[in-house]
Structure formats: C-alpha cells, structure tokens
Symmetry: C2
Subunit: 341 residues, 2 copies
Amino acid sequence: MAFSSQKPRLSVNEYVAGIQSGNRFILSKAITLIESELSADASIADQVLQQVMPVTPNAFGAKDKAIRLGITGVPGVGKSTFIEALGNYLVTSGISVAVLTVDPSSQKTRGSIMGDKTRMTMLSQHPMAFIRPSATGTYLGGVARKTREAMLLCEAAGYQVMIVETVGVGQSETEVRDMVDFFLLLMLAGAGDELQGIKKGIIEMADALVINKADGDNTKNAKEARQNYTQALHLLPPAESGVVPAVFLSSATENQGIEDIWQFIKAFEQTTTRNHYLQKLREQQNLQWFHKTLHSLMVKALSQQENMQSMLPAIEQQVRQGILPATQAARQLLEAVFSKT
Amino acid sequence: MAFSSQKPRLSVNEYVAGIQSGNRFILSKAITLIESELSADASIADQVLQQVMPVTPNAFGAKDKAIRLGITGVPGVGKSTFIEALGNYLVTSGISVAVLTVDPSSQKTRGSIMGDKTRMTMLSQHPMAFIRPSATGTYLGGVARKTREAMLLCEAAGYQVMIVETVGVGQSETEVRDMVDFFLLLMLAGAGDELQGIKKGIIEMADALVINKADGDNTKNAKEARQNYTQALHLLPPAESGVVPAVFLSSATENQGIEDIWQFIKAFEQTTTRNHYLQKLREQQNLQWFHKTLHSLMVKALSQQENMQSMLPAIEQQVRQGILPATQAARQLLEAVFSKT
C-alpha cells in the first residue's frame, strides 16, 4: 500500500480499501479523521463514510451484519470488567468485537482517558478485538455523533459486535440508546441502594438488566435484587421490541452469567428481526440523527449570516438588560435577517 | 373598564392596564393569551409583554423587585404542602406570592391538572396569592417558555415572590433552574433512600436542601440526613453565588422550618445583590433564553422553506435506508437550500 507513517493523510481510496480489508491501523486513522475539527478532514471523512456505507448494515438480517450493544451503569458498577469478560467470551467464540466509549467528561478529567487506555488489557491485545478510547468533543451531541460514525467504520471493517459504553454523564445514556439495537443496564445489589445514582427512566430504556458483582457475600443480595427487578419490569408497559426485558446475575471476576446474557441478546436479535422491530428501530435512529444534525447545521448557517452578526450585539444588549422580552427579540431578529436575505 | 365576559379578547392597552393595576382576572386572561398557540394571540401577547417589561425587574436591587424561587423534589416529597406552608407564611407577613408549575406531563396525565386546582386550598383563597396550574405545551421547552413569560406578567402585576415548582420530569429541573434566582431541593430522609429517585446533578444545582416531613418517627433520620448532606455539600465545588448552600429540616404539617428557610433566602438575596451575582445570573438567563428561542425559530423558518420541503422526502428515504450517512445528508441538503435561496 502506498503510504508510510510520514504521510499524514491518506487518500479517500486508501482509507476505504484499508477499512474494508480490516486493517486496524487504517481504521484507527479513519476514526481520528472523523474526530478531527478541521474542515479539510471533514470533507475527506464524508467521502470515506459514504463509500463504506453500503457495506455497513442497516438491519442485521444477513449473517455478516453487526449487532450494536449499548452498556451503561453508574461508576463503580464494573463496566470495564464486564465488557472485558463479554468481549473475551465473544472473541474466544470466534466473534469479533469493537468497543467504543461515549464519555463527555473525558476532555475535562484526563483520568478517564488514561483509564480507557489501561483498561481491558486482555481484550485489547486480542487480534479480533478493537478498542477505541472515547472521542473528545466540545459538546455531548458532538461526542455521540463521532462515536456513531466510528461505529459505522468499525462495521465496515467487519467487526460483528459493537459495544458502546456510556459513563452516564449528562444525556449520554439517551444518546447511546439512540445508536444501538440492544441496551443493557449494569447494576449493583446492596442494602437498599438498588436505585441509587441511577437516573429515572434508564430502567425503562433497558432491554436487559444485569446485577453485577453477584459473588461472595453479595450473592444473596443479588438474588433478591434480581427477583425484585423481575417483578418491577413486569409492571412496566410492554417493550416495543416485543421481548420482555430479563434480569441477569453476573460476576465478571468469576466469569459467570456472560453466556446467558449473550444467548439472550442472540434471541433478541432473532425475534426482533422476525417482527421487523429491528429494521424499524434502525430506520428511526438514522432519521433522528439526520434531523438533529440538520437542525444544528441550520442554526450554524443562519448564525453566520452577515446581517445576523451585525444586528445581534444590540439586540443581545437589550435582552440582557431585560428591556426586550427574549421571545420577541428572537422573532424580530429572524424576521429582519430573512427580509434582508 | 371597557370589557365584559362576552368579549373574548381585550386590547393590548386593556391587558397592560389591568395587569399593572394588579387585576387578577386580567392577569389570568393574559397568561392564557401567552399560552395560546394562535398566531393572532402571539402578536398581542408580544405587545403586552413588551409594554409591561420595563416594569418587571431585571435584578432585585430596589425593594419592589420580585424574588424568583424554584422548588423541586421527587413525587411524594410533599412539594404542594411545603409551598402552601411557605406561601401562607409569606402572605401572613404581608408579602404577595405567585405560584407557577412546570409540568410537561400534565397534558398526558389529566390527573395532575386536576391536582393543581385542588391543591393549596388555603393559599389559593388568599387575596395576596395567585396560583396558576401548569401550562400545557407540545414540548418541554415550550412549557418552560410559557411559564417564564407568565412569571414576567405576575411580576408586572406586583407579586413579590415567584414560586416556580417543577415535577421533575425530563429536563424540567434544568429549565426551572434557568429561570429562577434561588433553587430549593426538597428531600425525604429514610432508611438509605436519601438519593432515591433524585437525578444526578440536582444537588449541585441547589442553593438549599430541605429535608421534608421531619416529624414524628422520622425526626431522628431527618437530623442524621441533615448532617450527612451538610458534610457532602462542603465537598462540592464552591457555589458561584458566593453563598454556601445550607440544609434545613422542615415539617410542613407542623409548620416548622419555614421561617428559617425564608430568612436564608432573604440573606441570599442581600449577599448576591451586593456581590452582583444576581444581576449577572439574570442577564445570563435572559441571554440563554433568547438564544434558545432564536435557535428553535431558525430551525422552524428553514424547515418551512419551499425547496427544503421538496428535497426532504428523497433524502430522508436514503438516510432511513442507511445508504446516505446522516451527517453528510444534512450538509448536502442545507447547501442545496442555501444555494437556491
């Protein structure tokens, strides 16, 4: 291949060919391209993405389509250990795995970036696994967009299971839920703290719950928690997927529960492929992502209009002082911009 | 005054004069006008708002400026009873109160609308109190906007304390935090459930915590919780307001704690007026509200463009099927719209 490490940028064709041949080094470089804030990079990234898109699956009907898993849980629940255990189980079974992280806090707390690199030591060395530390971004939506596109590239490179991990900061669970097929919530059992720190609504978003660290002294509590959650889930409105969410016990350190969870995910895939939920879900996710992006680009484009730039400061001044109501100020400004365009 | 109940709409001047004279009936009608989705109403509402704006305070330096309080807490924490107790304390002390609710769920669950009308029975009958059930709206941001504008009208009518209650659905706490000076979080003490149901980050947003229902058998737990939270708050980064958040015990049924809380709010007002935090906060809130409104109007305006409407379906189809990457689709569409405008 006609490139060396001295050459900073590859051609679109080099990226596409590299990704499609499963070259991890080029896949990495392509994700870096997507994460770049430079507009020259954005244009190449667009072309690379579009060329690999027909390869990436829209719904996993065919056997080479990837399954997209989202995994969340409060800090300390054991997400990385669980993902390492699940990942090792998969690669040992001959199924390739890509692990991506959505962590909007990573640009602030350098600790979590370091963490990404040093976590999952076994999995990260396996040739069938690809682990990518979280993208940095200036806002959460930006991080999620980059993770989404990185996922498409990993799928084009042939990885069969996508694991997207969220650290649960801000809206990150919702952002991840909106890019995966199956959403898994890791929890801890303990004295009355089953709900502690878990945001309202997350349980309703989950396709399965896993009570983690169900080992040693904790086993009894974990079993009780499992029973309670199973009952609670039956009280919720039926899932759109047509599959009743299940509750699993897991001990990542003792390598227990992983196979059951994977079997459940496989069964979920089959059922939701048959009932067309999966295809509908991915279509909805694509559309939603498109509209979000369109809206933020609309705002950006109009904000850069020359007359907007010239009129804004005076109006902002009146709004800040409370002389002009915000709603009216916005209406006036926009009317003025459109009448002069 | 030249109107009767047969006449459906007042003139701008009638609204303004009625509000400024503290006429509760006209204030109510003006809020209904703001909540209306009709564009004819929107135009009158804009004019009414702008005319009363110079009267509404931008920061309460002068003694007739209103204090804006936000109150949140999980369902069952006793918000209405607490607000009724605080409201009664204030009106008895000669301070007028307006109570508004942000409840994005009220359009779905008619129960909570009914609830608003039957709650706070004592306060609602007091001539110095004005209670307005939650606005209905098609999206949370819309509900918040209407509540914000209703608050401005209440201030123009001379109410001295605004109490904005949020039911804690979706992003409603953040929306309310962004329209008030002082944000109060109601909590319950109990066996290990101090954090249950409370979203992450809410405690950091609060200017004071109140452990409610601190009576009877619960007193000991409440005192312990107070100590724990006081310690926890000291571990958080210092508040921008310059005032260290305090933790209070309250029993609304036994009418305890209300006076201490009010004294703390008054002291907060004095300190933050002196250190200019309050003025800065309100300026920021005005600007933020303006930009949010401007962005949603921008999206609306561009979405209604003729060529956008004509091009959208085909692009949506490709995005839905996963042929065209969402980001690229959005970029292409917007470029096409702008080049043809």
